[in-house]
Each structure stands twice: as C-alpha cells, then as structure tokens.
C-alpha cells in the first residue's frame, strides 16, 4: 500500500507547484476526479438553487473535496443539506458538523423526527427510517426551493443505481421514472427543469468503493472513526451483525458479542451492519476492499435485502 501513500499530493509545498506539469498519462483517479469537477461546475452554472447532500459518510466527504477542487478559493455555490434520520451514529453527526465548520460552508439540517412529530410520516416500529427520509428530503426541497440536489450515490452500489443518469430528473412529486429517463450522451448534461421539478446530480456515479477509498488516501481526507476497526457490541441478526445501541436492544435468545468491526457504509443505526475487520488505517481498508468478496451494501444494509427491488422502490418515491 506504499504506492497509495506516495500519491499523496504535496499541497503545502509551493516550490513544487511552480514547476508542476500535469502527468503524461492520467491515472483513473485523475480522470474520475476531473469528470466529477466538471459535473459540479455544470450544476453551478445551470441550476439556480442547488444543494449538496452531506451526511458525514465517506462518499459525501469525497464530494466535498471535489467541490473544493471545483470552486476554491471561492465559497461553494451551494449550501450543504443533511436529512437527519435521528438514527445516525453520533460519531458521524459530530464529524458532519466539524467538517462543515472547517470548510466554512453553510449546513442546513432537516430532520425525520420533525416529519414524524408533525404527522407528515408515520413511523413503523422496528423499521428503518431510510424510506421516511424521502418525505423529509422532498419537503426540504420544497421549503428551500432547491432545483438540484447533489448526492454521493454510485452506480456500483446497487442495480437500480446502475441504471441511473448522472443528472437524474425528478417530477414535481419528486418521483424517479426509471423507464423514462432522459438519455444522457457524452458529458452534455441536461439540467433543465420547470418550477417544482428537480434534478438529482451524482458526480461520483462512475466511482467504485475502491476508488473512493483510494481517493481518501490520496487526498488524506479525514473520515468518521467508525469506518476504522473498533470493538463494538453486536448481535447476529438476519445474517448480519447489528450494532447494539439504545435503538437496537438484544432480543430474547440473542447473545451480545464484542467484536472488532468497522462500518463500510454509515446509515440508519437500526439497519446498518458493520463487518468484522481489524483494518485500522485507510491503507488497510483499501487492502481489505481489494480482496472482499461481498458488495458494500450486500454486507451492510439490511433494508436493501427486504426485497430485490427495495432501492428502486425507494428511489421512485424520491430517495436519492
């Protein structure tokens, strides 16, 4: 993994920069990065009121670095928006706030708890809040008048996402119509919407989980601690490890174990499973990602496994 460390840029050394020349042959990360910067700038140019969805997770952390690459030293041309399920890992929420503050960018938080309290959505006991999130997101889009939301979804994550456009149209109900998407050719993105409609934009569509970690290494990005191996109390449920918390109590017959684990995704605490791991550094995570035999969501998201099309159904209703 030394090679990864060697890629790290020498950002603090201006002497290098004066004579720096772009390399002859660009690596795949360079090409992906440039594509994503281009996409972010297109959003800024073509949409009148965009927002960037920032959860504190690794994919949106990468998005923020790409936004820095696209717009610094200027302020970002969009605020950060988080739809807080109230089921998030506290470490991730703390990281979210810290990162937004470091960047000096505006963070808007809208919460599923509020949607439940106001009666907009009804919570089903024992179910995760991922589906409810869509309502809060659509309400936030309406309230704040966003015409575009930039998200960190990737096509390699899930089979419905593999079919999604980079600029993905949503009708005035926030719905995705997968059978009737705008064709997307070259990198000529169609961001046009009428009032009330919106566009979801996925600048890292073409990145894989491995690309994300390699980029995190190359850019020396900080990520929440729960991505690294740590000891945690878990129970085994529906084929996965479920973290014990105030929201998840062991059921009768379940044994609480303390295992070295890390999270590959960070989502709703009631349905996001860690994997057993001793990877304590980004380099070790990369090594593990290169050899894993289980997909990112396959290992970690119980809500995706309730049916073959859970994600597609959620997305049709406005999920990102």
């Amino acid at each position: 993994m030394n090679s990864i460390a060697q890629h790290c840029k020498a950002a603090s050394n201006p002497v290098h920069h004066a004579a720096r020349v772009s390399p002859q042959r660009l690596s795949q990360l360079d090409v992906l990065e440039s594509e994503s910067i281009h996409i972010l700038r297109e959003v800024a140019a073509e949409c009148s009121n965009p927002a960037l969805l920032f959860s504190g997770g690794k994919d949106s952390i990468v998005l923020l670095r790409l936004a820095e690459k696209a717009f610094r030293p200027s302020q970002f041309p969009f605020p950060l928006l988080h739809i807080d399920t109230g089921h998030n890992f506290p470490e991730v929420i703390a990281f979210r706030d810290k990162r937004a503050q470091e960047l000096g960018e505006r963070l808007i938080v809208r919460s599923v708890e509020d949607s439940i309290a106001s009666g907009r959505v009804v919570e089903r006991p024992g179910a995760g809040r991922n589906a409810l999130q869509s309502v809060t997101l659509l309400d936030a889009i309406a309230e704040l008048g966003f015409d575009a939301c930039i998200g960190g979804a990737r096509r390699d994550e899930e089979k419905a996402r593999a079919k999604e456009r980079i600029f993905s149209f949503r009708d005035s109900f926030g719905q995705w119509d997968p059978k009737n998407q705008r064709p997307e050719l070259w990198d000529l993105y169609n961001a046009r919407v009428h009032a009330g409609e919106n566009i979801r934009v996925f600048p890292i569509s073409n990145w894989t989980e491995l690309d994300v970690w390699q980029y995190i290494a190359r850019e020396r990005l900080e990520v929440p601690s729960i991505y690294f191996a740590h000891n945690r109390e878990v129970v085994r449920r529906t084929g996965g490890l479920l973290p014990v918390s105030e929201l998840v109590r062991p059921r009768a017959g379940e044994r609480v174990e303390t295992l070295p684990v890390r999270f590959r995704t960070v989502g709703d605490m009631t349905c996001t499973c860690p994997v057993e791991s001793v990877a304590a550094t980004v380099e070790e995570i990369i090594a593990e990602t290169q050899t894993t035999r289980i997909t990112e969501r396959g290992a970690t998201r119980m809500d995706d496994q309730t049916s073959e099309a859970s994600m597609e159904l959620r997305k049709k209703e406005g999920y990102f």
């Binding site: 890629h7 920069h17 390399p23 002859q24 690596s27 594509e35 297109e42 696209a70 894989t208």
Partner: protein
C-alpha cells in the same frame, strides 16, 4: 512533482467500452463471464443470481440478471436501458456500458457508444455477419468509437473451427473497410465456457492473438489528446476576491483537447479577443501546463469579456481560421424521443457549455439502419431515426467536426416544452451558407 510522475506510472488508467448485441448473441453471458473470471462478481451478487435463476426455473445462472437491474426488466426478461458496470484489473479500470440489443436499440447504443473508447460487437459464429452486426458496427463508427472489437462468440457450437472464424473475419473486414473503421480487432471465443475471454482455454490454440481481456487491457486509447489543438470551453466565471486569495478573474472549465501553458497567447471565441495565459490554478497549486482532460481554472493577463459558453483556443489556431463561429451547421442527428421532430418549433441545442436556440431547417436524407443506405424524402424524424440535417442557430457556436473532435463536435437537442432530451447530434461541418 516527482510524486505525480510516479503516480502516472503506477496507477491503472481508465477504459470505457460499450458491449452491443442481443441476448441471443450471448452478450450478457460474455459480460458475466468477463466479470466472473476476473473475480469481479461478489458472493452476495452470485447468491442473488442463483436464487433468482432458481425462482425462474433456470438450471444455470442467468448472467443477464446481473445487468438487468429494474423490476420491469426482470419481470419481462428484457433490458430496457443502458446499465453501467465496473471492474478492474491491475492494468486498468473498466467501465462497461451494457446496451440492450432490441427495444429502442439505436437510442441505447448511441448513448452507450457516445463515451466509449471501445465497442465490442458480438457475432454468433453459427450465424456469421448479420445485418444486426453491421448495424452495431455502423453505430459505433458513427459515434466515433476509436476501436471496434469483433467478438466471434459461440465457437464451441462450431467445433472451435478456425475456418469459420476466418470467414467471418474476412467478411467483416470488407464491411469495416467500407465504413472507414480504422482499428478493428477480432477474437474468437466461447462466453459460455470461457475460452479466450479471460483465460485462453485449450480449444482455440490456433488463435495467436490476445484474449478479449488482454486486448481490453492493452488497447491504446490515449490517442494523446494532449497534442491536439487546445479547446477550453468556459464553464463558469469566478470573480476576484482578494480576501479569499483570488487575485484575478478565474475561468473554470475542463480542457477538452490539447495542452495549455502559462504564457500561451490565446483567443476567446466567438468574440475573437486575445490575451495571454497568466496562471493555471488548481486546489493543489499552480501548474506550468495542463492537458486534456483535466479540470482547471485559467487566469488571463488582460481583463476581457469572457463568459460561459466561450471557447479559449490558441491564438495561432484562431488566426488560421480553424474555428469560425458557425450560424449554420450540417449534422447527423439521432432522434431519441417518442415524440417526433416538429419542424415548426425551435429547439435548444446544448453544445459544450453553451445552449442556443436552433431550427432544424432541412432533412437532407435519413439512413436506413438495416440497409445502411440513404433515403430521401423524410419530412420528420421519429424515435431511432438517423438523418443528415441542416440546422440554423440563433447564436453562433464554436465547433469542430465530430470526426475530428468528439467533445466539440457533439450536441444534444432539448425540447423546451418539457425539457426532454430528444436527439443527439454530431456536427459534420459548418454550412457553406452565408451567415
């Protein structure tokens, strides 16, 4: 600086390929085989495939389920839309655009091919070169895909016979020559059994060339855009803000072709105003030079009027009139929408970073996609039609012929009524008409 040079050697590069063919050609099986043998299918995906295949009463794993991600696709057993899949080997990262072979064929193939470096055309060894194979090759060529790989599949069903392969190759080569396709490669294989896909197997020993994966790993697709003339479409302006460390106006964009250096004399088109590159800015510091396809910020020595949609080129090129802003263009149009062309209304054309109003003035001829022959007399265009058209632009565009430069020769057509993307266009030339 040393570090960056190293990274260029160590890191794998990126290859985008489109796979064209129908279920019958074994396209899904081929992609499945490529992923499976390169260890890019994960256990949970495999379990899922097994479960679903079983549920449907299929005895073996149906690899098409890997790429058919939508409910409607699984229900109907057809592929509706382009799917993107990813895998990598130590040499390269691959992005596959998996384009369905039947329904809305042209629309999907054109979409998948628009960004591809390589198009794989599948031929069933038993059937030989069919109209469909020619259609696939024609569309790939039309979209300017630099490399064509002809995968002669199902060699197991013709006893791995070399003469079958040779006959198909000879016939296809004749056709490709007529098209003008320059880089055509041929691989005999059996997607079902895996011969010559990732591993060579021992039944096609007469084939001296690389396996399909070896070919994909080694094809030279850099076609070094860095040596081409500079094309820098301006995406955005950044205003000076000394308090944040921005001293001059910044022009944000991606280099679509060529190399730009500090000190270069440049012209901004269409205005024709000239200046000098004062700085090339990135988050990681200033660059002395940058080449396609990097996203950068340019600063000019003079405060001149530059806005989104303008193109920065080298002064020498502008003086040689290589780029005259066009008011009329001739183009090949692929109609993508179920609602046909309505010539009474103006449409919007998005080309690089500019969007202009335009009228489709004339339909010179359509292309019969099966006979691959021109047909005169079309009054309108329907979904999947391909036509040579004349277009009048309300504002000038700075463009190249698509055959020379994909990035500055391509455009999409948007219907302002509902903002649907209704067509894809490739500029043939600027029209001879007087402006």
């Amino acid at each position: 600086m040393k570090l960056l040079e190293n990274s260029a050697v160590i890191d794998p590069d990126l290859l985008r390929f489109a796979a064209a063919g129908s279920v019958d050609d074994g396209k899904s099986t081929l992609i499945g085989r490529l992923l499976y043998d390169s260890k890019s299918i994960f256990e949970d995906q495999l379990n899922n495939l097994e479960r679903t295949s079983q549920k449907r009463g299929q005895s073996s794993i149906d690899f098409s389920l890997l790429t058919d991600g939508l409910m409607a696709e699984r229900e109907q057993g057809i592929t509706i839309d382009v799917a993107y899949r990813y895998f990598s080997t130590p040499q390269r990262k691959f992005i596959i655009a998996d384009t369905p072979g039947h329904e809305q064929y042209t629309r999907n193939m054109v979409t998948g091919a628009s960004t591809a470096d390589v198009a794989i055309v599948l031929i069933d060894a038993r059937k030989g070169v069919l109209t469909q194979s020619k259609r696939h090759a024609y569309l790939a060529h039309l979209l300017g895909v630099p490399h064509l790989v002809v995968a002669v599949n199902k060699m197991d069903l013709v006893d791995f016979a070399e003469d079958v392969f040779n006959k198909i190759r000879a016939e296809f080569a004749e056709f490709a020559k007529g098209l003008g396709a320059r880089h055509v490669h041929y691989v005999p294989l059996s997607a079902l059994h895996g011969d010559m896909v990732v591993t060579r197997g021992d039944r096609l020993n007469w084939h001296r060339g690389p396996t399909l994966l070896e070919l994909l790993e080694t094809l030279d697709v850099s076609a070094d855009r860095g040596y081409d003339p500079l094309r820098f479409p301006v995406q955005l302006l950044a205003w000076p803000d000394a308090s944040r460390g921005r001293e001059r106006r910044g022009y944000l964009g991606r280099i679509e072709s060529g190399t730009v250096r500090v000190g270069d004399a440049v012209t901004v088109l269409p205005s024709g105003m000239t200046s000098t590159i004062a700085a090339i800015k990135t988050l990681d510091g200033d660059l002395a030079e940058a080449r396609a396809p990097l996203s950068i910020t340019l600063e000019l020595a003079d405060e001149i009027d530059v806005s989104r949609g303008d193109m920065i080129v080298h002064q020498a090129a502008a003086e040689a009139q290589a780029q005259v802003p066009a008011r009329r263009i001739e183009a090949t149009l692929c109609w993508l929408h179920a609602r046909p062309l309505d010539r009474r209304r103006p449409y919007l054309i998005k080309h690089t970073t500019s969007t202009v109003k335009a009228e489709i003035e004339s339909i010179n001829h359509t292309i019969d996609i099966n006979a691959l022959e021109p047909r005169a007399g079309a009054q309108t265009l329907a979904m999947n039609d391909i036509a040579k058209v004349g277009i009048r632009l309300y504002q000038p565009l700075v463009c190249d012929a698509y055959a020379d430069k994909r990035a500055t020769g391509a455009f999409i057509v948007i219907d302002p009524a509902d903002n649907a993307t209704v067509a894809a266009g490739m500029i043939e030339r600027q029209s001879a008409f007087v402006h």
